[in-house]
Symmetry: C2
Amino acid sequence: MRKGEETRTRILDVAEAAVLQKGFGGTSIEELIAETGITKSGFFYHFKDKNELAKALLNRYIENDERIYDEIFSRARDLMDDPLQSFLLGLKLLSELLSDLPNGHPGCLVATVCYYERLFDREIQETNRNAVLAWRRRFGRMLREIMEVYPPREPVDVDQLADMVSSVLEGGIVLSKTLKEPNTLAEQVLMLRTFVRLLFLPAVEQPLAVVRQHQVFGAAAGGQP
Amino acid sequence: MRKGEETRTRILDVAEAAVLQKGFGGTSIEELIAETGITKSGFFYHFKDKNELAKALLNRYIENDERIYDEIFSRARDLMDDPLQSFLLGLKLLSELLSDLPNGHPGCLVATVCYYERLFDREIQETNRNAVLAWRRRFGRMLREIMEVYPPREPVDVDQLADMVSSVLEGGIVLSKTLKEPNTLAEQVLMLRTFVRLLFLPAVEQPLAVVRQHQVFGAAAGGQP
DNA sequence: CCCCTCCTGTACCGGCGGTACAGTTTCGAA
DNA sequence: TTCGAAACTGTACCGCCGGTACAGGAGGGG
């Protein structure tokens, strides 16, 4: 059982990198077995077909993704009591994590599946859909907490605002990869952070001196781009 | 020359729909010739290989995309003198156009190419990159005009803000397709519109009655979701 | 009438996804 | 120490697909 898991993981590692660069249709099983140093029979011992490889790949990717978000935002929650400041810090930490990736973000498997949908079965499509819905719930939960303290300056639907986090991430990845500008993604996250700050931080009605103080406080919470 | 163009266009139409659903790697030439009712030799008469099909597909897509943006934002410019109101109206018109698509947005070829990059030649990757840079210039131009009149409430890089429009569109398409919720994309565009309005409309320092008036004015420019 | 555009038809190649199945190594539990 | 399951290897094969090569034909304009 031990060695089997190890080989399986190695296949998944190689497959993930390949699929993110070339899509599922562009990734051949033969190239995967060549790179992992396994035989074709060995491959099909672990995954009965390409669809099952995709299933395992997607599930693993989503789990890992969730783990990263858990870590970042729970750390931000530990450092900041205020839900807004905590969320803003979380976005800051996320953007730092993204800009620390040496070759830029490798791509999102959810998007890859999205642009390949018709060749997968319902189960994979459902898994993918549920991953996006989980993002919506995650960010929605945090935004609702914020809204209990800070009335938004403009009326917004909380689910749509939560989706905006996912949108900017997915879109930022596409831009970053296409432009070959690794930093674009991190910048987009910070731009989203500006939006959230603007939306929830109370409108300033005091003279300039006090305004400054307010702004410094807001910036100190997570730094300024 | 006449009939040739017609057949070529028919191939591109069929190919575009297929590629947006299944990616390039997932789309076989054989299925394209079956659907267009042409022979294999006929196909290779028009496109010497799959790469050249992709090139033609991408160029046509980008041209069409640019045309749509030209139309929408020049129409908005005709209806509104103020650059901010004109941009906000443009986003409103765009979101209406997107929510009128009967089956939702079919997907963006730029994103498809982005997630297939390694199997294309440099020329296609450059074309794709230039398309995104063109978006940046387009929205950046409009945003700079706005900034000459309205100082932003928070300091923002204009290129990054312009990229945010592309991000939200690309990300919104991924979400919309994955969730199978056609309206999500249009909602995301409206959410972006809220951000732009918040960022540029002057901070309110008057009593509540006047605040209301301001908000109604802002909403009247393009309506509220 | 000829030539050019726009195809069709046929034959073939190698790569790939997938199947089938027999045999082998490895390693822990009984 | 043996047994058996897990984790593979090796070989052979199928049909689809991308791509090549090349011969030929319809149809319309000069």
